[in-house]
């Protein structure tokens, strides 16, 4: 609940203030330490180190949404007859929940992953801008501020295409995880 109510920019700024400014354990922004010439594994480590805070912001945001979906779908499933049957068989509660209920509850959730595909590109826009992460987000914001319409249209086009692709993936995975669904 906290995750979906927190504006990502405010959360990002708070994290920067707490972890990067006050106790100085994470870098404020950027992707690499300035002037770094590291290659290979050292570079990877440096990037991961810089990635920590934005990662926390993005994960908290999406985990919260996912949890809500799972919860509502779980509430739906747990009332089904087969869950009662499983309980009546004398299975342990853990098995009933994780094997019988959760598996079925995850069916609608799986499809959401497909719809996340455009979100991977556009959803992180503000977070990227705050952490000065050189991704597609700051580019688009820059384009907005400079009224660079061709670039904006290009990015939107890409996102629309990804949405369609995501929907397609969602439909396909839906059929994959739920054997009841077959194309006629």
């Amino acid at each position: 609940m906290i995750g979906i109510s927190m504006p990502s920019f405010f959360f990002g700024l708070l994290l920067i203030k707490w972890f990067a400014v006050d106790i100085k354990i994470f870098p404020v922004s950027g992707m690499l330490t300035p002037g770094s010439t590291a290659v290979g594994f050292a570079k990877f480590k440096d990037v991961m180190y810089h990635m920590t805070l934005p990662l926390i912001v993005l994960t908290l945001g999406s985990v919260a949404g996912l949890m809500r979906y799972t919860r509502s779908s779980m509430l739906e499933v747990i009332r089904q007859d087969y869950v009662r049957t499983a309980r009546a068989k004398g299975l342990r509660e853990k098995v009933v929940i994780y094997k019988h209920a959760l598996r079925n509850a995850l069916i609608p959730v799986v499809t959401i992953f497909g719809m996340w595909l455009p979100g991977l590109f556009s959803g992180a826009m503000i977070t990227e801008a705050i952490f000065n992460w050189p991704g597609i987000g700051p580019i688009e914001l820059l384009a907005v501020n400079n009224r660079d319409y061709p670039l904006l249209m290009g990015v939107n086009m890409l996102l629309a295409f990804l949405t369609l692709l995501g929907n397609l993936i969602a439909d396909v995975t839906y059929a994959l995880v739920d054997p009841r669904i077959r194309l006629k």
Binding site: S5, F9, L14, S122, I126, R147, N156, L159
Partner: protein
């Protein structure tokens, strides 16, 4: 008991939802009456500049300090609350209006009409919400819209971009409601289509409309604040919560002058959380299938 009494009773037992409701009421009361109190009792308005206290930390005179030109942060917070809440409510009203009418027509007529409208909705849904919002807001800046009217345009844009989900929900429900007996009765009475849709079908979808509207207000406030944070939503001199956080892009403000940007952030967070808690509680209370 009447159905609404049952709902109210269930809602009252849900502690989280009630907490949400109280926070929300508090926010509304403070942002509606707060500025009046500030203006007539303390003599502080949104634009009043206190030249002796520029960027002053919280003190007795200014409980939340002042901003970079000496305006009282608490007062601006209240005005910002007015604007943010109004944007949320108006944007959602617009989207509910469009969504329920289009969903109603689409679900009632079915067939070709339904096909065309739903494909249109699909097309609308393909465009990622936030980048499109950003672009439209940027166009507003290009046309140099007066900040006074800009707020209304922002409401309009958010409303127009977010009706699709609601239209789908309403359509789905009306498709099944259409087949029920009371619609045959309405048919037998020879009612006109418009009356059937707006008097007999839409009121039955009221429960899901109100739930998605409540939750929609939360996300509208979030969109508005993100937009204003980027400087494309509500523009100065009018404050909004998102816009007040914008000063934190300055490193010095972010690290030292915390009173300028933490309170509006907390306000957004609390309000949106309250709305979500209340909306969730409302959904649980309105769902007759859920008996716990």
């Amino acid at each position: 008991m009447s159905p609404w009494k049952v709902v109210r009773h269930r809602l009252r037992r849900n502690k989280l939802a009630m907490v949400g409701l109280y926070i929300l009421l508090f926010m509304i009361v403070v942002s509606v009456f707060g500025p009046i109190v500030q203006k007539y009792i303390f003599g502080i308005t949104m634009e009043k500049i206190d030249l002796y206290n520029i960027s002053a930390p919280p003190s007795l005179k200014h409980p939340l300090g002042t901003d970079e030109v000496g305006r009282d942060v608490l007062t601006r917070l209240m005005y910002g609350g007015r604007i943010s809440l109004t944007v949320g409510i108006v944007a959602v009203s617009i989207s509910v209006l469009i969504g329920s009418i289009i969903g109603g027509i689409s679900g009632y007529y079915g067939g070709v009409v339904d096909g065309i409208i739903m494909r249109l909705v699909d097309i609308f849904m393909c465009f990622p919400f936030f980048p499109l919002l950003l672009m439209l807001a940027a166009v507003l800046s290009d046309y140099k819209v007066d900040p006074k009217y800009r707020i209304y345009f922002v409401m309009l844009i958010i409303g127009i971009l977010s009706w699709t989900g609601l239209a789908r929900i309403v359509r789905g429900q009306i498709l099944s409601l259409r087949e029920q007996e009371f619609m045959q009765a309405a048919e037998a009475l020879g009612l006109r289509d418009r009356r059937k849709i707006f008097r007999h079908l839409l009121p039955n979808t009221f429960a899901s409309i109100i739930v998605s509207a409540t939750l929609g207000i939360g996300s509208a406030i979030l969109s508005e604040s993100a937009l204003s944070y980027l400087g494309l939503g509500v523009t100065p001199p009018y404050p909004s919560w998102g816009q007040m956080i914008q000063v934190a892009t300055d490193y010095y403000v972010m690290t030292v002058e915390y009173w300028k940007w933490i309170p509006p952030g907390v306000c957004i967070f609390l309000t949106v959380m309250a709305i979500n808690l209340f909306g969730d509680g409302l959904r649980d209370a309105l769902d007759p299938k859920l008996k716990r």
